[in-house]
Symmetry: C2
Subunit: 212 residues, 2 copies
């Protein structure tokens, strides 16, 4: 059970994340948030003390959601190549889900590309943890003989990132209805080219098969 | 020769583009611009009448620069596959050039993903013209027999976009010193896999060869 204060704090962070996905993390203001929450500005200020403290909380909340929607369902798939594929597919689903939020790490990466400080560090830590999980999984797929022994795990993850960034760009900005299909097609080409001959054909989770 | 009024207008747009690359197009204000230009706010207002008119001018100025730095040097390369490669390499160079601006189309795509209106339309028109030039070039490379006859030009361009987005993300946000090398490596893999057997080995422009 949560106390009322905690529930209010959670509701503020939820609303702040919703707003930040639309206007950017930097444009998040106590004023606009107070208006949306029908609270006083000082009521919000008393809970977070500074805009930066609120921004950090928003990033942490996003990280929890990302782990719940992408990381845990991904690593629940059978080891090892199917797991890498599941991580990719849950990620693509998250990027284009019906909330319309997109991937907060991707949008914040643009906003904080040329800045420094605690907010960029917090974002980078979350994104780096995800990248590391992908690299570890790709390395295991190479070790297990599912991917060619001369494959480069870091390079595979770099290219997976590119596909997800292209999906994010195409689905949200260009609004191309074929974005999903293009991402899956490119990923199949990437993995097919790297798959060790001894490993059986690529595993495509059922929900992605229906979306094609 | 330009008249003084035109020179002032150009200087304002230059400064506005510089600022917009750092804080976003939406955060561009007459106030901050006036401060940077040591002009009065009304002096800027009298030239552009609205924030939107200034934002549109900034996008048009970026489009002229993009054409000068990426499009024209790209299409000057020999037809057809070398031209596609040159377009890609000039694009990657633009994304990571020393100005630190990155690709304004990429950063604005995030900012205007969930918005509608004249600014998004102007951005989309510029980005779409570039995408179309790439697709046309890829189609010609397929017709000329430089790429496999069953290649899909739209898919190739989608994947090229992914590589440039990953480069932009990695070089600017993650600040990975291997970003350039990873982009070239991935592009080689993409084109090698699509290259018709009859076509000679891949052409890498000299400036990219030195950067590897």
């Amino acid at each position: 059970m949560f106390r009322k204060g905690e529930l209010t704090q959670r509701a503020i962070v939820d609303q702040a994340l919703y707003l930040a996905c639309r206007v950017g993390l930097e444009a998040l203001s106590f004023g606009s948030l107070a208006k949306q929450m029908q609270m006083s500005k000082s009521g919000i200020f008393s809970r977070f003390n500074s805009a930066q403290a609120l921004q950090i909380e928003v990033i942490r909340e996003y990280r929890r959601r990302f782990e719940k929607q992408v990381f845990y369902p991904g690593i629940a798939a059978p080891s090892v190549l199917p797991r890498l594929l599941a991580m990719f597919f849950h990620w693509t689903r998250h990027v284009t889900d019906s909330s319309g939020n997109g991937c907060f790490y991707i949008s914040c990466a643009i906003e904080y590309a040329s800045r420094s400080g605690a907010i960029r560090d917090e974002l980078l830590a979350g994104a780096a943890a995800w990248r590391e999980a992908l690299v570890t999984c790709a390395q295991s797929a190479i070790k297990a003989g599912h991917l060619h022994c001369d494959s480069d795990a870091e390079q595979i993850v770099h290219e997976m990132y590119g596909l997800v960034l292209a999906l994010h760009h195409n689905a949200r900005f260009v609004r191309d209805p074929h974005s999903d299909m293009r991402a899956v097609h490119a990923f199949r080409r990437l993995i097919d080219g790297l798959q060790a001959a001894s490993y059986e054909s690529i595993y495509i989770p059922p929900y992605i098969a229906c979306r094609r």
